[in-house]
Symmetry: C2
Subunit: 358 residues, 2 copies
């Protein structure tokens, strides 16, 4: 038997519900390969604020660091929305990304044939979409300094942030992106605003330089405003997209909505070494929290990414992916992806059906 | 007779073709109200680079400043794509916006019943979309200092930009946005990233403060990643959106593509006083430049915005808008908006048909 330690971070809102489902699926799917897990649950986000006064307690970070992988539910809620910056649930998530040094965020967005009707895009535009956004996650304007508040020469209040990238930060995310594209259709589109921003000019220069090491991957460049349009016009033109932290935040959410089923979409955040962070791309959905209505499949699929990217357990990962497809084929749907003719189930029942399909 | 001086900036690519059509329509439509124009054509962008070595010659800026309004075609092209920053066509456009102090960019995106099929969104999602993005245009990361290149402590090359907003910059764009919303459905959504960025926290604080002066306008706030999703999920939820320069660049292009007919969409950039800048939101389309294939209607409708916002000539503006609708109703379509059963025409012929409808 192999043994892995997993840190579970349920977080806020629907987080605990979806994590509980994903944990069971992870355990069962891996058991067939003789894998055992030691799970440790720790607080983060609003839950941690209420418990300890900070959004990322030291214990949570050190536990996460010492584990083989981290599975997160969701963070945030109205209750903490007006907190000061260092006391926001979101700050806990940013500290976690920084603390784990997970600089590469992989966000697949694909339209499953079973769910093509869920997209607001016309069927012929949506069907077959299968793209991956590789978002830089620990740099850029999210972390750049100087940042803060001040006054200008006229005594007027100002708020400011710094978008900054160093060559090494661009190089390492570019390598991950080229390698990701290589495992897919070998097409990489780098998105920037190099017609205006110096940070983007360096981005384009470095990505172009790294490209020579991946002659089999076709590299193109696109401005971010055009990319936001092209995702709506013809999302199928994209295979792998690589971009900075803030553009990746915006474009990956846009891409996910194009699938129409963001309750289905997982993500993986990885670094050079050390445990990765796996989480659904959806939020904490405070309005349906505790009501057994959440779609747990994004978190279940995040557990599959954890097995694949975090532990190298591809077989167990595939077992989960197939179980999810089988459950959909058997007609089970949570409210967010429900369409006539299918069986409407809650979070727990969806979890039980996936377990049957494993 | 009233007389106005208009600076025409054809620019690059399809710019000259669409400007030539818009000029004729503007002239005819206004003549019914006894309005006469003095037109002066000046170079900008790549055209100016080739002619004078800079993307915005001083003469062009001073001519523009001394006129009553400025109508721009489009700028940019492959030829100048690898130019250094200060020699990029785009830099000329940014200098023009800064030089004219046009801090508010109004970008309507509406789906005309005649063109609802052009959208990649399902008919029931696209039809009836009618929103306005108010984008801050002379601040934020586009103009913030410090900016440039350097090396970090490890000797690694860095590229950096500053996202900065002063209270007065936010206040003045907020006023324009509230006033714009007031003329529409009285709903304003302010888009920011206040859960991460200090510049956005100040943005949200100021917009919220200004709101008390517009009790009849309903204000909401949305994070930019969510806004990028909501535009795809249900664009009809939006009436007026106000946001910063870079988020506005991305979201207004996304919104325009949702209509499916970006060849139709105009924009107005205005300041506190002095001439405004009116331009189609589409680019210079170098691939079809000079081929008489461009859709001139976005520029024609920009001329209508020029009459309305720039000269206060609402009647003449409406005359143009109605002429465009009438031309569409008579079945004339350029290639970008063509659908079976209509008459495919080129740029010039479309212009002649609009003139007939005026
Ligand atoms: C919650 C927020 C800080 C976060 C981000 O902006 O990175 C979220 O939107 C995401 O994309 O994971
Ligand atoms: C050409 C470019 C500098 C410009 C911008 O980013 O503002 C364009 O995309 C626009 O939106 O008008």
């Amino acid at each position: 038997t192999k043994r892995y330690t997993i840190t579970l971070l349920p977080g806020d809102g629907i987080g605990p519900e979806v994590i509980s489902v994903a944990k069971n699926v992870l355990q069962l799917a891996a058991s067939f390969d003789g894998i055992e897990f030691g799970f440790k649950e720790m607080p983060v986000g609003g839950a941690a604020l209420d418990l300890t006064g900070v959004p990322l307690p030291e214990d949570t970070l050190s536990e996460a660091r010492n584990s083989d992988a981290v599975l997160l539910g969701a963070i945030g809620g109205y209750k903490w929305d007006n907190n000061e910056k260092h006391l926001k649930p979101e700050t806990g998530l940013l500290q976690l990304r920084e603390g784990l040094k997970v600089f590469a965020n992989l966000r697949p967005a694909s339209v499953l044939p079973q769910l093509v009707d869920a997209s607001t895009l016309k069927k012929e535009v949506a069907e077959g979409v299968d793209l991956m956004v590789v978002r830089e996650l620990t740099g850029g304007i999210y972390f750049g300094k100087p940042r803060g508040f001040g006054t200008n020469d006229s005594g007027d209040e100002i708020g400011f942030n710094t978008e900054v990238y160093a060559a090494y930060e661009i190089d390492r995310i570019a390598h991950i992106a080229f390698q990701t594209a290589r495992k897919r259709s070998c097409r990489l589109c780098s998105v920037d605003k190099a017609n205006v921003l110096e940070a983007s000019m360096l981005w384009r220069k470095r990505v172009t330089a790294i490209a020579s090491q991946y002659p089999d991957v076709e590299l193109s460049h696109m401005y971010v405003d055009n990319a936001a349009m092209q995702l709506v016009r013809n999302p199928k033109q994209f295979d792998t997209i690589v971009t900075n932290n803030i553009f990746g935040d915006i474009l990956s959410d846009e891409a996910s909505m194009i699938t129409g089923s963001i309750g289905m979409l997982p993500s993986a955040s990885i670094g050079d070494s050390g445990p990765g962070l796996y989480e659904p791309i959806h939020g904490s959905a405070p309005d349906i929290a505790g009501m057994d209505k959440a779609n747990p499949l994004a978190t279940v699929l995040s557990a599959a990414m954890l097995l694949k990217y975090g532990l190298g357990e591809e077989k167990a990962a595939q077992r989960i992916e197939l179980a999810v497809l089988d459950t959909l084929n058997r007609g089970f749907r949570t409210g967010d992806i429900y369409s006539a003719g299918n069986k409407l189930v809650g979070c727990k029942e969806m979890g039980e059906e996936v377990l049957k399909s494993v």
